[in-house]
Structures are given as structure tokens and as C-alpha cells.
């Protein structure tokens, strides 16, 4: 039996001849590993006390696993619900179960770099002779990946069902805030994936800790995340049958609701638009960013809150923690120029008579401006708790935002939508270097 969707994805891949781009994140992780070790695996610097190693492995395995699960929660949404197949298949009858298998295989292949990066970043554990801890940490990360892959599709498909459910309408109205009702279920789906995966990953990493401390049953907890993923995968087929096609109408409703809101003058306002009133390239980039990539400036403030948690401390390491956490957020948000360039055909700037250098400069400015959402809350928290010691992290982060934004803008100018492939490895490496050096620098 041959799956037509798998066949078609295989053919597309053969025609695209993508090259070994998957090596880039792995190479970046390999280069970042020694630099990030002081931040991620600081417990290896002391004597190998079993309790310390077990606790440290538990903590880092959980964090890395949760990070992988959160990335997969978003990827499963973007690959299935808003994936590239939908527009093509909207004109045809589909066999949702077969399609789901093909999409899952493609997602697994394209996102395999996530657990591999985790395995590379954990390598210092093995190099310090902590082989069992290394194996346990990698198993947790791989389990998180499998779990979120399995339940991700299920939860997103269930969210489509929920969006159409008259029974849940009242609940969704309570939760949706300013969003259209039909979007409410979709918005919270990644959070549900993360919560379920996070719980099982937490139990698995705690199991590793117990296993390392001599309680063999603890290792059995490693089976929890993959088992949960398997259950999710089994439920996804019937849900796809009911929800995949209906999701097209749901997405059209959500998009139309947003477009309808922007009819009003109030909603035409663009975040930070006043900064671009006399700079047409900046105005264009700000408008494009706000209307097409609103999650980025809004998400930056969300990440800023995470940074604020790191900064709300009188610990001597808090400034370095702020640089590490907010720096990671800055590295992420500063990729926005590559997304801004995605829809622009190469001839556009030429046709508009615009200097590409000025466009790149405007995109740099947008990246730096959006990054303020990630920087300012963290610095404010640190300022309150430690006063003047917040100044150095502020300078480091602002400089990082400018440099990263400029690099992303140049990558976008040169490679358009592929610019992110050039930006991402360099950003990971730069973040690891800055975070590692800052952490080492403040060590008592």
C-alpha cells in the first residue's frame, strides 16, 4: 500500500534538492556546546558528587525537554493546521489519515535537529564521565520530542473540533480575550501540548534523578513521554478524519475576523508607527511586521516576562542569568528581518526604486525595536533588585539586539527567505558565547 501524500512529499524533496542544511543547527550546537557549558551544565565544574550531578541532570534535562516540547507544539501547528499542503488540498478531496501520516513523517524529519541539538549540548556530561546521566538526559529530550510530536497533532485537531463545538462556545468566550472566538481554541492548543508534555517530561527527568541515585525503577519513568506520544498518535487519525478539512473554513473565519477588525481606524494603528513617520522604509517594515508578524512584537513582551523572572533576584548571578535568558529571546526576536523579507520578491525594491541598504537598515531598526519587549522587563526587574548592576546587562543586550538585527537584515537581503538558515547558527553561537562569557565573568 502506497501513501500518495508520502510519495508527493518525497518527490517535492527530490526536486528541491535541499542540501545538507540540517547540518547547520547541529554544527552551531557543536560550536556552542563548550561556550554554553558554564551556563547549562555548571554543576560539572565542581567535584562529581552524585546528588549534585543527579539534581543538575534532572534540572537541565527537564529544561531542554520543555524547550524541545514547546518548539514542537508550535511546529505541529504550523505543519498541520497552517501547513503548505492545505492551500493545495483545499481544491481536492483528501484522505485525512493518510495525509496525517505524511505530514507527521515530514515534521519528524524536518524537526529531528531539535533532539539532536539537545544531545550535542549535553555532550559535556559524557565527556566528564557521567555516561548514565548523559544517556538519561538525552532520553528525556528525545522522549519530549516524541511526546510533543504525538500529542501535538492530536491537540491541534481537537482544538479545531472545540472551535466548532456549541457546547464549548461559552468557555471559549471566557478565555479568548480580544481574539475571535473561533481562534480561542487554537491559541491555547500549544499551551495544552506543552503542559501535557511538560508534565511527563518532568516525571521522566525526576525518574532519571532517582535512577542516578540508585533507585532503578526511576529509569522506567523515561517511557512515560514516548508512551504518551504514542497514545496521542493513535487518537490523531480519527480526529484528522473529522477535523482536517473543516480547519480550512475555521482558518478563513479567523483570518476574516482579524481583517474585519482592521477595517476600523483604531485597528489600523501600528505598533511604534510614530517612529517611522518620516522614514518610508521603516514605516513599511513596521507596518509589515505588525500586520503580518504580530506574534513577534507581542511574543517579545512575553519573553520579557520570563527574563524578568530571571532578573528578580539579589543573587550575584542574576545579571548573567538576565543576559542568558533575555539574550536568547533577543537572538530569537532579532530574526524578524528574515521573516519580513520572506514575502518580498527580488524585483520589488528595484521596482519601488528603494535602496536595498536602507531597507536592510529599516529591518535592523525593527528587530532592535521589537527586541525591547524582551530586554526592558528583564532589565527593569534587575534594576529594582540590584540597582546599577543592571547597566552592564542593558548595554550587552542592546548591543546584541543591534548586531543580531543587522546580521539578520543582511542575511535577508542576500538570501531572502533562506536568510534564516544563515542567521540561526550564527545567532546560537553568538548567544552561547555572550552568555557563557558573562556567566564565567561573574563567577565568584
Amino acid at each position: 500500500m502506497r501513501n500518495p501524500y508520502l510519495d508527493v512529499h518525497r518527490r517535492i524533496r527530490a526536486h528541491q534538492r535541499p542540501g545538507p542544511t540540517w547540518l547547520l543547527p547541529l554544527a552551531a550546537a557543536a560550536l556552542a556546546t563548550p561556550l554554553a557549558q558554564p551556563v547549562l551544565l555548571s554543576f560539572l565544574d565542581g567535584p562529581p558528587i552524585p546528588e549534585v550531578v543527579a539534581a543538575g541532570t534532572d534540572a537541565i534535562a527537564f529544561r531542554m525537554g520543555a524547550l524541545v516540547a514547546s518548539a514542537m507544539a508550535l511546529h505541529t501547528y504550523s505543519d498541520l493546521v497552517r501547513g503548505p499542503d492545505r492551500a493545495v488540498l483545499d481544491a481536492h478531496p483528501v484522505q485525512p489519515r493518510l495525509l496525517l501520516v505524511a505530514i507527521a513523517v515530514r515534521t519528524a524529519r524536518q524537526r529531528l535537529y531539535l533532539p539532536l541539538m539537545g544531545a550535542i549540548l549535553m555532550l559535556p556530561l559524557a565527556l566528564h564521565g557521567q555516561l548514565a546521566a548523559y544517556a538519561g538526559a538525552v532520553a528525556v529530550i528525545v522522549g519530549a520530542w516524541l511526546c510533543s510530536l504525538g500529542i501535538g497533532f492530536t491537540v491541534h485537531l481537537a482544538a479545531v473540533q472545540a472551535a466548532f463545538s456549541p457546547v464549548l462556545a461559552a468557555v471559549l468566550d471566557l478565555l479568548r480575550g480580544d481574539n475571535p472566538r473561533m481562534q480561542a481554541a487554537l491559541i491555547y492548543a500549544p499551551g495544552v501540548v506543552l503542559a501535557v508534555a511538560g508534565l511527563s517530561v518532568g516525571m521522566a527527568s525526576a525518574g532519571v534523578r532517582a535512577g542516578l541515585l540508585g533507585w532503578p525503577v526511576g529509569w522506567a519513568f523515561l517511557a512515560l513521554p514516548p508512551a504518551l506520544g504514542l497514545v496521542g498518535a493513535l487518537l490523531a487519525g480519527p480526529l484528522a478524519q473529522r477535523s482536517y478539512v473543516r480547519a480550512s473554513a475555521l482558518l478563513a473565519e479567523v483570518d476574516a475576523a482579524w481583517a474585519g477588525r482592521e477595517e476600523g481606524d483604531e485597528d489600523r494603528r501600528v505598533y511604534l508607527e510614530w517612529l517611522g513617520t518620516r522614514r518610508p522604509e521603516l514605516l513599511r517594515a513596521l507596518r509589515q511586521g505588525w500586520r503580518r508578524l504580530r506574534t513577534w512584537p507581542m511574543g517579545a513582551w512575553g519573553l520579557g516576562l520570563v527574563g524578568a523572572f530571571a532578573g528578580w533576584s539579589e543573587d550575584a548571578h542574576a545579571p548573567a542569568a538576565v543576559v542568558a535568558v533575555a539574550g536568547a529571546a533577543v537572538a530569537l526576536i532579532a530574526a524578524v528581518p528574515t521573516r519580513l523579507a520572506e514575502g518580498d520578491p527580488p524585483w520589488l525594491d528595484e521596482a519601488l526604486g528603494v535602496d536595498p541598504g536602507r531597507v536592510a537598515l529599516a529591518r535592523t531598526a525593527v528587530a532592535a525595536l521589537y527586541a525591547q519587549g524582551a530586554i526592558l522587563p528583564a532589565i527593569a526587574a534587575l534594576l529594582v533588585r540590584q540597582g546599577g548592576r543592571a547597566l552592564a546587562p542593558l548595554l550587552v543586550l542592546e548591543l546584541s539586539a543591534l548586531v543580531a538585527g543587522a546580521f539578520a537584515a543582511q542575511a535577508a537581503r542576500r538570501f531572502r527567505s533562506q536568510g534564516v538558515l544563515a542567521y540561526a547558527p550564527v545567532a546560537v553561537l553568538a548567544w552561547a558565547a555572550v552568555a557563557g562569557l558573562t556567566w564565567t565573568g561573574v563567577r565568584p
Partner: protein, 249 residues
């Protein structure tokens, strides 16, 4: 609009279809029936609601009110079921850009067949390729195609499995005259075999040759549903519409 048990079953039944976006009403009280073997033109100025109607007929958009049925299947309730009877060419057809037209049409034939895991009927694929008239270009990647070639490929994908109902939204746009003629001949032949075609177009002369009826949509409402022989009247109404001041919503 109710049908008696003795009346032949309509292929496409649209009843009181309405779509509103906030305060904007894009389509309102649109009703019509298309019988097997009919080729009906859907005409109207830009923004009249033709594409919105097509999207509701194919399950890509939920109606705010009213219903659409394809061979008795309610599109809003069972969009997947309705799609099995439909061949659709949307206004802006999306194709897998990194396939050749031959591969895309073969894929469409597979997923439209009874057994999508089996190889499709090669003769049907060749026949659809002949309608597209891409010649040697059929083995080039779609992302290298012009707009017209893109549309021809989408048409061939819709026609390959000979579905009983064809919804073609501006499907002849960008086609050279010879290709348009060839496609119209195929549509005519499909109707003769009992299929139903709803074709939206701006080229009224095209409809004069092939259509049985013409439905005129203006400002979201059906303003005329006439035999194709009265196309001149439709043309006149369209000219009046152009001359009329645009109402503010």
C-alpha cells in the same frame, strides 16, 4: 426552495446563502439550483461576491446563513463529503510548486480515485494533460510556469477524475484563446455526459457560446438568473452597475 419528490435531483442547490464579515455583507440571499448537464455562468463586477460564493460552495468558508448542497450533501456540515463530488478551480489556484504538471495531475488523479494507494488510470492522466495542452512543459516544475500554465494545470487537476460537479472561479483567466476554446469544448463534453458546471468569468462572449444560463451577482445578491440567450440584457445591467455610484457601507 423545496423540490418535489418527483423532480430530478439538483446537482447544486444553493438556498439563502449569506456571508457577513462584521458589518460588511459580502453575499446575501443567494439562491439557485443547477441541474445535471447544465453549464451556468456566474457573472458580476469585481467584489460582487462571486468568489465568496464559490468558497462557501466548496466548504472553504462557512455561510453566516443559508445552505449549499452538492448532490444532496450539505457543504457546511460535511465539507469533506461534498468535496468528493467536486472539481474545483479557485480564483488563485495553489499547486505544489516543486512538482511537474504531470506529477501534480497524477497526484490529483490518485487522491480523487476510489483507491488512492493504487496507481491512477494513466489514460485519464494523459487526457487531462491533453486538456492542459502543456506539451513538453508538462515535465517542467510548476514554479517555472506562467500564470496561464498554472491555471491550465489546476484545470487539468479538477477535470482528471471527471467529477459530477465542476466549480470554476475565473478559470479561463490568463488562458490563450486556443486553450480557452479547448477547455470550453471539454466542459461542453462533460455537461453532455451529465456533469454540472458553474463557471465565473468576466468574458461574457465566452458564455454566449457554451452556457445554458447566466446568473448575475451584484453587491452580493442575485440580480438576474436568465437563459444565456438573454446575455445582452445581463451585459446592459453590468454597464448600468458600472455607471452607478458606489454605495457606502
Amino acid at each position: 426552495m423545496s423540490s418535489s419528490p418527483l423532480a430530478p435531483r439538483a446537482s447544486l442547490e444553493v438556498e439563502g446563502l449569506r456571508k457577513e464579515y462584521g458589518r460588511v455583507v459580502a453575499v446575501d440571499q443567494v439562491s439557485f439550483r443547477l441541474m445535471p448537464g447544465e453549464l451556468v455562468g456566474l457573472v458580476g463586477p469585481n467584489g460582487a461576491g462571486k468568489s465568496t460564493t464559490f468558497k462557501m460552495l466548496s466548504g472553504q468558508l462557512l455561510p453566516s446563513a443559508g445552505s449549499a448542497r452538492v448532490l444532496g450533501v450539505d457543504v457546511a456540515r460535511d465539507p469533506a463529503g461534498a468535496r468528493r463530488h467536486l472539481g474545483l478551480v479557485p480564483e488563485n489556484p495553489a499547486l505544489y510548486e516543486y512538482l511537474t504538471a504531470r506529477e501534480m495531475i497524477t497526484f490529483a488523479a490518485r487522491i480523487r480515485s476510489e483507491d488512492p494507494t493504487a496507481e491512477p488510470d494513466a489514460e485519464r492522466v494523459e487526457a487531462a494533460l491533453a486538456v492542459a495542452g502543456l506539451g513538453a512543459d508538462a515535465d517542467r516544475l510548476i514554479h517555472e510556469y506562467s500564470q496561464g500554465m498554472h491555471r491550465k494545470t489546476a484545470l487539468a487537476c479538477a477535470l482528471v477524475a471527471e467529477p459530477p460537479v465542476l466549480l470554476l472561479d475565473e478559470a479561463l483567466n490568463g488562458l490563450d484563446p486556443a486553450s480557452a476554446e479547448r477547455v470550453l469544448d471539454v466542459l461542453h463534453a462533460r455537461c453532455a455526459a451529465g456533469a454540472t458546471v458553474l463557471l465565473s468569468t468576466h468574458v461574457l462572449d465566452t458564455l454566449a457560446r457554451v452556457a445554458d444560463r447566466v446568473i448575475l451577482i451584484q453587491r452580493g445578491r442575485v440580480s438576474a438568473d436568465l437563459p444565456a440567450s438573454e446575455l445582452e440584457h445581463v451585459r446592459h445591467m453590468l454597464r448600468e452597475d458600472e455607471a452607478a455610484p458606489v454605495p457606502r457601507t
